[in-house]
Symmetry: C2
Subunit: 197 residues, 2 copies
Amino acid sequence: MTLALDAAAQDLLFREARTANTFTDEPVSDEQIQAIYDLVKYAPTAMNQQPLRITLVRSPEARERLVNLMSDGNKAKTAAAPLVAILAQDNEFHHELPTLFPHFPQAKDVVFAERPAREASAAMNATLQAAYFIIGVRAAGLAAGPMLGYDAAGINKEFFADGDHSVVTVINIGKPGEDAWYPRSPRLAYDEVVTTV
Amino acid sequence: MTLALDAAAQDLLFREARTANTFTDEPVSDEQIQAIYDLVKYAPTAMNQQPLRITLVRSPEARERLVNLMSDGNKAKTAAAPLVAILAQDNEFHHELPTLFPHFPQAKDVVFAERPAREASAAMNATLQAAYFIIGVRAAGLAAGPMLGYDAAGINKEFFADGDHSVVTVINIGKPGEDAWYPRSPRLAYDEVVTTV
């Protein structure tokens, strides 16, 4: 037993979990999203900056606006999923930094004074958090269907009027439905990925 | 019970796991890294592209070259950790794509013909995989100490002579040692992160 994590958890999070393209009608509650967030919020980001922001697209009107901005292959499943979440980075995350990272209160003004530095850092760290969130969705016994095919500028304009947020991924969430996935595609072998120096 | 993942696994991966700054002398074996990789390799990337590459820095000579490229605050812990891994993105990942994503064999030449498109996609997807890897280190009962403070251009040149890899993060790995971490810094509350439209 090389891993400390129990086998059922390994299956739930990694081995049996799959990216879903269809879902049942079973709704996903705010309580479930809160439980996911309250678990994955502990995973690390650089200087604890936590730039991820999550928009739950629940109203039919907002769902329609989002579907119109998805690429053609993603429209039908985004329209049909029980819940759709827009994961975005807050490019003004530095305002919270003196509270979030009290070890280095000057970081806000020294490291992140310029917007390009903030955007680069927010992109990386919100992407880490998006991965943690996908694992969290699986921890809730749900399937995630993360997508990158959309009009990003359109989503940023339509859903983040402040001009300070950039979409990282859009994720369909729910219980997997009929024919929810293709056969699993191959993974690279250990020796193709890991080298020792 | 809102989550399907058992409480012990929640603690192991998220609630009790911490970013470690000191480690015991207990070595980290190749078998442990292989078990981690063989678990987290199943987590999703866009078009299954899997651009993450991992370099285990085991020889004293390589460790010294790496330590010299870390920022001052990271030198001592990088020198002392039982194992240090350089996580990098392969900017030429598209060569594997027809095998990895047989649903869309043209992607290699249509979507990823140009290096900037490959670098952007590799950055995002290798970052997702870096997050999965951190979770995997914790799944092995180990602590991860991911770092971003280093001379990135120097690491790319020193460790990836082909010019085709870019460092994503450097991670110290081992059993946490004495005073391994600060008190946990605050996390944003659900209502600060999640909005509904």
